[in-house]
Amino acid sequence: MSTSTIARQRLAPILGRTARWVLGKLGGGIFVLWAVATAIFFGIRMIPGDPAEAIMGGPGSQASAEALAAARAEYGLDQPLYVQYFSQLWRLATGDMGTSYSLKTPVAEVLGELIPPTLVLAVLALVVAWALALVLAVISTRSGAVGTAIASGLEIVSAAVPHFWLASVLIMLFATALGWLPPVSTSTPAGLVLPVITLALPLAGFLGQVMRDTMARAQRSAFALSARARGESEIGVLLRHSLRHAALPGIALSGWAFGSLLSGAVVVESIFARPGLGRSLLSAVTARDIPLVTGVALISAAAYVVIMALSDIAERLADPRIQAS
């Protein structure tokens, strides 16, 4: 038996596991997207009124019968519901998200313009939240019972703060009273500060709570003791061993956190008058713009699925024990 055969035999089950894992994730992702598309399709049609009105400029439009009929025909709304449903699924599957009723532009084009600003906002908020949570966890673990109590209090308060309220307070403090930062999110980097903090603070509180608990447990564990016995300094133990443990639940939660950032973006983008997916979702729902609502929801769901998978991979990399299980 050659070494390569042995390697192959050893590798095969691992490859098989990875393939199964990838396929599972892919299947799960497709299922989620299908469920979202279906829920949106039927959900929006439960709202009273005629989607053709939305195309003609809103439910209060006094559009003529001919104009409504033309709109229905153009957007396929004169077809039976199941035909509309399957043809929409087919279009979505082939990558065609249709044309926005209210903006009269292809949904893909609208999303192309709105994804980048929201992505910037969400990623920055996630990074800031992580940084805050880690700093808070390290400092509180280093500073004993009083520090822990203070940090824990801060975390609970910030985790519980609603975005809407936080944004208003930040605007009042930093824009109106101090005049340091613009209250509306302009194209300058300064305009990003308040929206990012608004999204990051509650998330940091949440992540911090989980990470600090795990870190404290790790500090008391056997491997920490043995590291200390080997002469590792206290800060060394914290940074080299406990931090890695503490990061694990944080990574696991980041997928969920990203989803919560997207929903937070609806509020934050509206308050800070920032273009993005969240704000367009709000106006699309108000205008009953079915293609646009579907597009935003699908993109958000897809992002959620991808981030969940990425956080899964990151978790496996950080903790080899997960692979074994």
Binding site: D50, V285, T286
Partner: protein
Amino acid sequence: MNYVRPKATRLFSAAAAVAAALVLAGCAPASPAPESGSEAGSEAGTPVTGGTLVYASGDAEPTCLDPHVGGNYPQALVASQYLETLYTKDASGQLIPWLAEDSTVSEDGLLRTLKIREGISFTDGTALDAAAVKANFEHLLDPETASSTGFLALGKIASMKVVNTTTLELTLSTPDSSLLESFSMPWVAIESPTALKRSQEDNCAAPVGTGPFKVESWKKQDAVNLVRNADYVQPVATEGHDGAAYLDAITWRFIPEAATRYAALQSGEVQIIDNAQPDTIAAAAKTQTIKHLDAPRPGASNRIELNSSKAPFNDASVREAFIHAVNVDASIDSLFFGTAPRSYSPLSSAEPLAYSAESLFAYDPAKASELLDAAGWSERDAEGYRVKDGTRLTLTFPVSTSQSIPAEQSLFEQLQATAKESGFDVKIKLLDLSSWYGELFKNDYNLVSAPYTKVGPSVLSVLFHSDSTIPAPSGYFANLSQVKDPSLDALLDTAGSTKDEAERKDLYSQAQKKVLEGYYLLPLYDQQNHFLYSEKLRNVGATTAVATPTFFDSWLAN
């Protein structure tokens, strides 16, 4: 026009601030400050050319910048900067020709001849002429355009004929005494016929007009960028200046959140905001750096309509009882901080033909009780609500959260509370716009509040003519109180077709008296249209016929 004198204290503090500034600067005003209720006294100084005005709108972002498509107020606001109308209203509220020079009508009222002004060009170089106006009307009447407001306004035009470059003849299906008022609305503004030939998508992105500004670019969810029309020719000389506007550009931003909008104004990031909320107007009055423009919209007043087509409001005495059971004045005062004067008319105070009947709308629970007893609602149940034949005196009140500001929703809640004392069970349902329309289409309401903006008293026909109880194909109908009164229809029809201005006034007064005395509606206040602006922005106050501000004469002080 449409300009309400600021409260005396505010005027005084503004004047005092200016006086102090002048003393500090070592000079005195050259002449006594004008008295006229304008803020000219605080706007002394030489106009400065240049600068970009940043306007922050709280209205929805238009989905199309051409107000022919659809036709709502957010479109009118921004379009007033780059489009102009055939007619408009002057500072005293009088209808005056603008892009049109003159107009005559035949004896039978069926042939309207429009004279179009010469020497005016669209910003793409196309000349304004009769054919251009015809192309606009055709665009508005084309179902493909999907015009609602403009389409209705031109509904009586049967055919058009270009007689020569400056003359357009319109043949009407029935006489229309409100046609010129319709021509003054931004939804019927005149655009370049060359530009109209583009695709609807292109025209929506950058309509081409004759106004003092033109559309340069539009970044969705962010801003419409307007730049000065260097070749602007004002159709009619006004008190202001000649030539192009002072401002280089206007950045028209969309900031949906009221508190953010006000913060942006306070921090100097924007110079003017619309949809100012009552509490911020009151707060701004205490500052010396922010000023207030109150320009109520024309057309109907904001009102609660009582659905007379179903129980219990099919009984006029129950409608009357409800109106006496609610304490409107006290609630408006407290919730709107004195920024919204009470209305007793179906029409806006901006309408010269508005008729008021204050005496009908007194808060009088004793009278309400008397009327309800007489109408058979004499029993009360355990919770204190009145009942008749085992049915509770319940009123459903769907409220659209996108059309009613928070202060108004609170007002409705207070009215609900006072009506309860007289035994009415008012059920307020807060709904999104689509669901709200859904309730109306199903006739599932007793009370409703809906705005309606249109220039001129003909809005009364839209709201109270029995024809308006017949739903449009979309389900929409405008006569929400569902008045069906042949004598009222006759008054409105005659008023709509008469050529005699005195007769028109008399007929519309009678019609208003009829709906008020029938207790079909509870007038509340004018459609709120408040602007707050930085004192650095000078000469704001000029508005179009639909009370949108224009910035041709405005300038930014350093």
